[in-house]
Amino acid sequence: MTDFFQLLISGIATGSIYAMAALGFTLLWQAAGTINFAQGEFVMLPAFAMLIGIAAGLPLWLAFVVAVAISVLVLGAGFKRLVVDPMRGSGVVAVVVATLGLSIGLKSFVKAGYSAEPHPFPSVFSEEVFKLAGVTISYSDVGALVFAGLMVLGLQMLLNKTITGRAMQAVAQNTFAAEALGINVKRMILYTFGINAILVAVTALLITPTYLAKFDMGDNIGLKAFFAAIIGGFNNSRGALLGGVLVGVLENLAGAYLTPSYKDGVALVLFLAVILVKPDGLLGTPQERKV
């Protein structure tokens, strides 16, 4: 039974990291209708930015701050201005294909320009463990959980308690009505891209110690983020959180009790099962089709 609790806790910790990438993914979809297939690569890039910073002699926290700043500039504003904005009006499919191209481009660029090997990445939290009621818990799990929890909580506060946040939600729900109410839609969408850029940088900081920094690390993380977002409900930002934690916990349990080799397939099975029963995700509300 103690094994079970250990798996549960580390599963929740990993899951809350998936949830952050999933949350950013959902926010982009809601606010700008952008399905970002390069979300995994958006996590990989800050990881390499931090590695380069550390190699240049910066302490980890400073490298992280620099990576966040670069991320907001490049993966937030740059991505919006250079990729998403010019394709306004050409439909979801064109953006999907463009982000797929971006995904291949970024992966190959890092592979060719930096390295094809996996690189170890320093952990923010100590690797030591402590015991609580017989259950062994690692500080890094607790750290990830607290960090991710604070991020998500902070974001919820921002979205629900501030005027800017409420304006962002209004844009996500109905762009036209928001514009008619005098909300600066463009600015709100830009903020959303910025928030996604911060979320992916934090995800990179927390997940890279376990995944190692590698050019294709985004394949797996991106996929978990998509699945988490859909499992929880694509049009609900709390859904991403639920989906992420579910994926993290179940794949941990399946890895321990069923088979470790197919751990990464759990998210797919869960996804297929959920959309068979609840097509809009666990917390999602049905969407109307537009002619």
């Binding site: 294909v97 463009a98 995904s103 291949i104 481009g105 660029f109 060719a112 394949d219 089709r289």
Partner: protein, 323 residues
Amino acid sequence: MTLSKRHLALLALAIIALTVLPTMLKTYGLYLLTLWLVYIIAAFGLNLTVGYAGLKSLCHAGFMGIGAYTVAILMKAGVSFWLATPVAIVLCFAFGLLIGFPALRVQLHYLGFATLGFNLLLMLFFRNEEWLTGGTFGIQNIKRPELFGYSLMGNLPFYYVVLALTVIAGAALAYLLRSPWGRAFAALRDNPIRAESTGVNITAYTLMSFAIGAAYAGLAGALFAPLVNFIEPAPFGIGNSLLFLLMVVVGGSGRFYGPVLGSAIALLLPEYLRFAKDWYLAVFGFAVVVMMIWLPGGLLSIKETWQLHRAKRDVKSARPEAA
């Protein structure tokens, strides 16, 4: 698509060129040419799924892997290539139905995520089930088949068999597209709700177009295994699946010859430029982004896009005079 005389003449010329040219090529050139044909077969199938039915499928390399492994395993067990290939095709078709069904019930772009996950699962299977797939070492010494007692071990005879199958696969696709089925596929892509209201069963047709696309990948995989004589998981990963999709789009999705051009750009050139493969792919990936902004219809749509652009400009310049 009715064939004009010019079209027929060009097609005949291309086939003659593809018949005569290889006799002048060295081993590596011939290998690349055969590989190109194999990719064209797979891309024909994906073009049906993506270009004509409008679905985003991201596990085409995985389906090719199913085809390749099925043929390799069955041939190692003593089954003839000509028997193993239909099995591979049917297996891919069945997997297509299995994966497509839950995703397509919901939303078209859910298929993208489902197929991506399926490809990941396939890679885990190819790597982990060593008893069946040889794990990361793969399956070696896959023999090339015989045809009517005539050995195809040589590169040239095998090339001709692949060429013949490519032409047959292309003709079958052209036939399918001209049938009411093909028109239903196009109707689905252009306006699913309207198609449904005129009596097209959306789920059944989208599912079929996806499964038939998968079957084409199965055939390509079945030819891939004896062509390279050795298979391992790497060529069937997510990266190549993304490339498959992009090559259909780059060539011009929904255009019959799009895959022919696209597979040369996205899969053949990187293979040829091995030493600079990653840089090439980096440039290619970013080029796709630029292309989706300026030329979303693909390279084969250059003419129309340009004409449309000129027409718009003419309208603009004509307007002040009219006023």
